[in-house]
Subunit: 755 residues, 2 copies
């Protein structure tokens, strides 16, 4: 027999020892806020269940299944699990939440009120009908975690390269996973002991059937849980034997098809079990993890790390020759442990301690010390059964009821998912627009992968269609030259002017002398002097009524300090609006108003600011759609100019501005005006963006009076600039007015086939 | 009558007084380097004459016509004229040049040897046959400048707004140009006097016809030049009269069609003369400018400015009531002046002085003082006829012959056009790749407009097809996301790896701690530490044989100083080659070699560097395809490490490197290797660029041995990075190997319809 322990100890394996791939499927019943099973269908907003990679239904229409992609690390696994959970929790009806327990809430008395998932594929429906008949609908209502695990490729290749028994890597892997599986089957009672969390059933779960003596450690993992009939027997001796046994069970009618083999550990290779003969084992799926009621996601990272260590120990530790006997013993012990009283010491306490001490020893030998604490914690739980999940849940339920505990936990998780609707759990370090865009992609079933978190770089995929997206607005739909045109104000103006749009007249100068020579052209009109390539208002001087030569020169000097090229332009009076155009349509129009408060004759400026800042939409560092209003030097100066201080009490309805600039980043208000504009203005914005060749752009129009018809008055608007990286989140969650889900428009532009 | 002088004096007109639009058509005979009329056809490289906007033929196949676009300033006019001239001069056969005189070189004795332009359109050919018959082929061989002039739109609108006679702007403009034209016809003898430069004919120009008493001021502008028969009489009294007269001339058979009306000043409106009735006059075309032999381009900016001032004076100064008489008097005077002996004082000296003094007065009243000197110079020439162009050319010809003078000037201009083939006259401030790209566009007849010179931003147009191009390689053919992918090394690697290409393995770290933890993964292998986003070699440490933990940490510290994200990557040994892919094909492969000289046992390092630097391909500041090799601190240090100084004499064939890095910008050599690589490597580069979604990219491959077959050896190559703004000029003009005209490939990608 292969000595895997020896291989794992090889020094060359050390750099890859913790390398692994992880995936999770987490089931959860949809319930109303009182904890009653939802009566609604799986929400149509998720699109078609025939392909959705993240959000599915399991047995019943109410049993949501949240699926992560395969990930290379535990943090990444939990990023996706959190994100998919958040999307699910916020996409189902407002009056629903995800039930936090493995055991379902009280079930309807009548079987027909438990609705089988309404899948398109009729075979899938037939299979569920068969299951309902064979095992009863109620057992199918139990939820849990399916945990997919794969040892790292470099780790396995290193182990492979230091042995001689196998010439074929795939065969080697299969052998490795077979050993892991046999020992897992033998010792899985430990997982039931530590992670079991289904101590009691709710109403109508057990009807007239045999009822366990509740509380137990895990109804779900007991012989009374959702498991094959005892006459289903499959050997783990070899892959050949395993596949032959499953085939035989089907022939003998003990299983309807291979996927009905509900082992706690499934081998995974190709699409079907039979494919394993050719693919070998590529990864394994653990199915015996109860939902952790105290983790919003149903499981936490420490549990996953412990499972990884446990599986490695299964590979590391010795096994017995007679493997069928070995596995059968495991089943016996597991079934006993599952039905033990959760606060009692387990019958196999001694073996439990030995396994855990063995794991400790392994970690020491592999120099994997930072995970030792997890085994120590498990040891504590081994000695203190009252600290296990099942015991804790049961104890808490004694104070009220399991139902009430579950509803309270559900409410808590509901709140956590809903309190910052503009953020996506797991990806909160990314820009808001990207978080919102990812939310939409996950909701619609477009696969999304973060290629670079700090660069907001995503890879999307739907079937074979791959797209890359940066900042949620930079896509393959725009051409390379478009942002370069927009980046250059002179070029933008030339292109727009040629296409017949009104842009500020003016000229570009690269020397003071040249610019001064042009003075007579501007002297008598309203104009603005600005550096060619700054965006932040630096170096800009506005002359609303012309200027003397001295003032003109002074303005130029200021601008030339910022850039070697300076623009002198006609000043266009009016209000600036941002028109957000996507794929030939204005999807949002926004007015940005400088930071301000409105008086009430009672509160001081400071108090009014505090109150305005308490809006959950306001935050700092672009982690919220609006920024907190500051009361710094600039704001106080602005107050002073109005004869106010932060302690002044403005009159009722008096608007007090705290900033001159209208940037959202300095506390400004974003006000959606999309429905306030006539089609004529929208048409101008759309055509201008089209003239620039862009699919996605935020174009800024100066409009003196939006009631004026721009088709008759040529001066009704002027175009200031077009932006190739326009912020989107402020439109989705504006300060006032209707939110506009621009991210969904972008997704639709990229994937019309999904909509 | 309108008082245009009063309008011009209005203060509101002042800012726009020098505003005008200009265009030039310059004819020139192709000759061999001995000055014989070329026997070759108009080069096929220019494509189809049916649309070429820049390079055409006039009457004969040898008579090239170079056409500028309409420009808004004189400097811009000369940019285009110089560029079109350069393109023409360098695109015709190496053994040909442009004849610098208006009068053609010696003509063949037999008429049939003067080849009429081989135009596609048969009507065009028929018209030329008619002209040959009506005027003789020889007169058609004279060349000159056609000067298109339009007063600035804002200037004209300002004048229009301060008068009341005309309600219609178009009618006002027509009236304005009519006055300008009548006075021009009256005083045009001045232009013949100042700019006339066709004093003598060459062999076989005049056969048995009447021969003037040579030298004269301008054969071309005399009654013996290419002019209508005297019975063609057209009135300038009004547009109606003018059009009616032309129509009558055609009806009476005195003209074959309207374009045969060879007036020195043509009105321009629509496509045909008759369109003027509806369009009004939009601009005027002067046709009486001889080629200035002393200007490579046939005319210089001072002449154009003088013409502008002269035309404005024609509008400013009074005219006589009887305008037909007035114009007729002008024709009489012009014909006299044209045939005067060029060194003699003109008969109309007094009138000439009065006009010029009047122009001075106008400039003073309009506060347009910086152009006064041009009028002063004209006054000097009025008093000193020997300083006029015709007199100077004649005097010089006395020392040898006009033929020899012309050939010498032709050679000088030939040299000026050819000495820096990588530059484009008129646009030398732009990047080389853009200059070369513009050359190609002009050659192929794709209209090119510089939208922003310092930003290398071009607008191209062919028929209705508009494209914008930046840096000659950023186009609409690439999508916005492509450069963003390439800009991010991590994303690039992920995309390439996923597509199955070999990229350096490794990881990205954002903290020292995290990176140190990964030490065992790299300790024993060749690897490199680099900041995620620097490109200039800063912060990079290479460990070719693994590293100790200390050295690893030191390398990390250096990298973290440059960026908050650091990559630790497998080091791939081999030679780096740049594969330049355009539209799915490798168009060039380049090896870059560090600055070096090769010894000859005689010269010192310093002398060898001097010799290598004398290559015209080497220059400074990217104004040449290669940079001068420096002998600064770094180079001397590098010599010292080899035990050398700049005074050492290296042995024959000893290669002495002066730099470690291979950048062209530090004196490196660019060596074209395109034909040295097998298709297999090219296929890898093409597929990798395709995987990144790019149409244009320079992708860098590390190749240990290019003779190894990459289809069998997986480690035959590794991809380092892909560039979205790859330099092109170094491929077009490499230090060694064949030049690859990548700019033409880009043009073809954008405009397949032209090729």
């Amino acid at each position: 027999m292969m000595n895997f322990k020896q291989l794992l100890l090889h020094v060359n394996a050390r750099p890859f020892i913790d390398q692994a791939r992880f995936g999770i499927e987490r089931e959860g019943q949809r319930v109303d806020l009182a904890g009653n099973l939802a009566k609604t269908d799986h929400p149509a907003i998720f699109g078609d269940r025939s392909y959705h990679p993240y959000i599915q239904t399991d047995f019943s229409e109410t049993q949501t299944e949240m699926i992560t992609p395969v990930t290379d690390s535990i943090p990444e696994l939990f990023q996706y699990l959190a994100a998919v959970y958040d999307v699910t929790a916020r996409s189902i009806p407002k009056e629903e939440m995800i039930w936090p327990l493995s055991m379902p809430p009280a079930l309807p008395e009548k079987d027909e009120e438990i609705i089988i998932a309404k899948l398109k594929n009729f075979e899938d429906v037939l299979y569920r009908r068969y299951l309902a008949k064979e095992y009863g609908k109620r057992k199918q209502m139990v939820s849990g975690i399916h945990f997919n695990f794969e040892f790292g490729d470099e780790l396995l290749r290193t182990l492979f390269s230091h042995q001689e028994e196998f010439q074929d890597f795939s065969e080697f892997k299969t052998e490795l996973y077979l050993k892991t599986a046999r020992n897992f089957m033998r010792y899985r009672w430990m997982i039931t002991y530590l992670f079991g969390a289904s101590p009691m059933s709710e109403k109508n779960y057990f009807l007239d059937e045999s009822h366990p003596q509740e509380p137990v450690r895990s109804i779900r993992n007991s012989a009374l849980g959702y498991t094959n009939h005892p006459n289903v027997k499959v050997s783990y001796a070899s892959m050949k034997q395993y596949l032959a046994d499953i085939e035989r069970m089907i022939e003998e009618g003990k299983l309807s098809e291979e996927k009905e083999f509900y082992t706690p550990l499934r081998f995974r290779g190709g699409k079907k079990v039979a494919d394993l003969a050719t693919t070998g084992v590529r990864y394994i799926e653990l199915r015996n993890i109860d939902l952790n009621p105290y983790a919003r996601l149903g499981i936490n990272p420490e549990q996953v790390r412990f499972l990884q260590l446990f599986l490695m120990y299964m590979l590391w530790t010795e096994e017995k020759e007679d493997c069928d006997q070995w596995v059968a013993e495991g089943t016996t012990r597991n079934n006993k442990v599952a039905l033990e009283q959760p606060s009692d010491q387990t019958e196999f306490h001694q073996e439990g301690r030995e396994i855990l001490e063995g794991m400790k020893q392994m970690l020491v030998e592999l120099d994997w010390l930072d995970s030792l604490y997890l085994v120590e914690e498990a040891l504590t739980q081994m000695d203190h059964p009252e600290q296990t999940l099942a015991a804790k849940l049961y104890q808490e339920a004694q104070l009220s009821s399991q139902q009430e505990v579950a509803v309270a936990l559900g409410h808590q998780y509901y709140k956590e998912s809903h309190e910052r609707p503009y953020q996506l759990a797991g990806f909160r370090e990314m820009e808001l627009s990207t978080q919102i865009f990812m939310f939409d992609a996950i909701q619609k079933g477009v696969q999304v992968k973060v290629l670079d978190e700090s660069d907001q770089f995503l890879r999307l995929q739907f079937q074979d269609h791959v797209e890359y997206v940066k900042n949620a607005n930079m896509t393959s739909k725009d051409s390379y030259i478009v942002p370069l045109i927009m980046e250059n104000k002179t070029v933008t103006k030339k292109v727009l002017k040629e296409a017949g749009f009104r842009v500020p007249g003016g000229a570009e100068f690269s020397s003071m002398e040249e610019a001064v020579k042009a003075y007579p052209r501007f002297a008598e009109q309203a104009f603005v002097i600005k550096p060619k390539s700054t965006n932040y208002g630096l170096g800009i001087t506005i002359f609303k009524e012309g200027a003397s030569l001295e003032d003109y020169q002074a303005g130029l000097a200021i601008a030339f300090r910022e850039d070697s090229s300076v623009l002198v332009e006609e000043f266009m009076p009016g209000t600036e609006y941002r028109f957000f155009v996507i794929d030939g349509e204005v999807q949002a129009i926004m007015l940005r108003v400088p930071a301000n408060v409105i008086g009430d004759s009672i509160r001081t400026v400071k108090e009014l600011v505090e109150e305005k800042n308490s809006d959950p939409l306001r935050g700092t560092n672009h982690r919220a759609p609006l920024e907190l209003i500051q009361l710094g030097e600039l704001e106080q100066l602005m107050l002073k100019e109005q004869g106010l201080t932060i302690e002044s009490v403005p009159q009722a309805n008096q608007i007090v501005y705290l900033r001159e600039n209208s940037n959202i980043s300095t506390g400004g208000d974003s006000i959606d005006m999309t429905d306030e504009f006539s089609e004529a203005y929208k048409k101008i914005a759309v055509s201008a963006v089209e003239a620039l060749g862009a699919k996605i752009s935020g174009i800024d129009l100066i409009i003196p009076d939006k009631e004026i018809d721009p088709t008759t008055d040529k001066k009704a608007y002027g175009i200031i600039e077009a932006n190739f990286n326009p912020a989107m989140h402020m439109h989705v969650y504006p300060f006032a007015g209707k939110g506009r889900r621009l991210t969904m428009n972008v997704l639709k532009l990229l994937y019309p086939e999904v909509f």
